[in-house]
Amino acid sequence: MSHCAATELTGDTYTRRFDKGPTGDTLIVNMGPQHPSTHGVLRVIIELDGEYILRAEPVLGYVHRMHEKMGEVKSFTQYLPNMGRVDYLHAMAWNWAYVGAVEKLGGVEVPERAEYLRVIATELGRISSHLVWWGAYLLDLGAFTPIMYAFDDREIILDLLQIITGSRLTYCYFRFGGVIADVTPAFVSGLTEFLARFKSRLPMYKDLVTDNAILRKRCEEIGVIDVDMARRYGATGPVLRGSGVAYDTRRAEPYGIYDRFDFEIPVFPEGDAMARYMVRMREMEESVKIIEQALAQMPGGEHLSAKAPKPAWKPGVGEAYFAVEGARGKIGVYVVSDGTKNPYRVKLRAPSYCNLSLFPELAQGVILADAVSIMGSLDLVIPEIDR
């Protein structure tokens, strides 16, 4: 029989490094880099004893594009479109993180209306990202229908954001000192309609999917993350809030005008996949609330500061770290400038990177089907991890 014995492994260096010699009756398989449920080009080498995982090791770099080097060879303004490509599902948040860091560095003011526009765009992006996560997670678990409904709702968001940004997915909406375009009446009316429709869809999702006994069995008590583990790996976002810690960058390191809005931070204490699921479902509801308040409160004014820097701008020597709450967790951008028109260093701190790094410890002793459920509940976007 030609199944590989552990002694005669071929394969690349990662496989050889993973396998430290004959280990008896275990099976070493690769999940990915082409696999329906690794959410992108991720490869996980797994050592299986029957159906139980003994060791798991993610191998990264399949989508590595060296964004941090691009940050050094491009000018500050030229680097803006890159942010949409880091995490294309919540591109608005990455836009904001980079723009916020550079604005801190250069001391650029943002008009009030632009702040509201930023909030609306980012929260819409959050809803869109969570819808994709929800559909894809249930697809992993074998339910083929919810993703169709999720994409149905998301299509409207994409159409709305196309009105103001011109893009459907990889947005480059933010500029230093504001945003590139104001909203149109078509956008506002479309958005109001969408919010009403979305609020009526959420109860259906709850009845059909969230309360489904099979889903509950697949998610409850799976992949329990305790607070100490989250600290050791730097897990943030719904992964952390599903473990009982009410840490949200919008409240912990306030930025923009989030302090003007009345919204809750959903927290569930169980720490399992179901808790993370519930956090994201509730976050969608909270985002709807924020958008409604922003639409109501938004003042008139300009969408881009009159004193916004020109494209070939040099912010001056300094460093700045700016953090934003993305759909996956805390996005951090650290910029160092040496006074020239290109950054000296751009460091992108991706939340999925830290969230995935706890997977090897979490997956030990877990049954393979549960590993799929755990990875789905972590909400990974591989381009963000690889950058």
């Binding site: 029989m1 030609s2 199944h3 099976l27 398989v29 696999h35 329906p36 449920s37 159906e51 249930l138 697809l139 992993d140 678990l141 074998g142 339910a143 083929f144 229908t145 169709m148 409904y149 149905d152 059909l208 489904n212 099979i214 889903l215 069995k217 697949r218 049954i367 393979l368 089907a369 549960d370 799929v372």
Partner: protein, 331 residues
Amino acid sequence: MPDMNALLAGIPAELTRLILALVALMVFIGLNGLALVWVERKVAGHVQRRPGPYEVGPFGLIQPIVDAVKLVAKQLATPAGADKFLYWLAPLLSFLPIFLLFIPIPFSKNLVGLDTNLGILLILAFAGLNVLALCLAGWGQNNKWGLLGAGRAVAQSVAYEIPLLLAVLAVSFQTGSLSLTEITAKQGAWPWQWNIVVQPLAFFLYFICAVAETNRAPFDLPEAESELTAGFHTEYSGMGFGLFFLAEYANMIVVCSVATVLFLGGWQGPIEPGWWWFLIKMYALLVVIIWFRWTYPRVRFDQLLNLNWKWLLPLSMVNLLATAFAVKLFA
């Protein structure tokens, strides 16, 4: 020259009838397989708020034929390192026994392949051959994911056969026969005269086990797309995959036919009993199975086995005992 008349007269009538039945069943299974593919894709589409196939032919009716032509036209590729004999034996072994499963099923009062008094036994016995086919497929394709899928499939099939058997036995006890024609004949034309009214638990258990035996969602772990790429048929493409695919649909038709015969009165029906009632009931059950697939997520493997051993098996035994008791008391 040998006497043709004498030769033909020497062939037993039973054999002729059997051969004719097999040919008719091949046509039936072929046509129904195609129809079922279309029904599945349309139901899936509408459940997911999209139209399903509508380009090829009116309402996409020609789509399954075109797909079949495509599958047949594909290259018959064998993966490197696969055991060639086992690799190609597996889909054949999965598909060919299906014809035997249909032989004892009465489509109408006189439309039955072989009116044997051991109909149920025949069906259950040959249904078990599918397990062997899965084993061979998993092993022969030289792929670790396939092996995992086959292991799961075998465990699942073997486990769910038992409550299925016990549920069917309960009906047999009640009727006093293993012959499908007799079981159908003993039921009446109206719904309250069907066995489902007398044996609702048995029907419920049978249906769940049937969905599990045919590897349909929510019990479709052996082909769990998102976990094992494609489980036991990962390395199959073209006609090999086509045979597995067809075998799965044919199995679905078999279990629904048996359910119709055992619990829903078979060809009996109000106004005008006949094969049309049989087909209507069978298709109703098929649509329900298809509906399940597009609604529910997948059950995890150990939960699947737990469900069987801790719930279905005890319930089916209780049902059987209660039936035996009732038969003894009220016979």
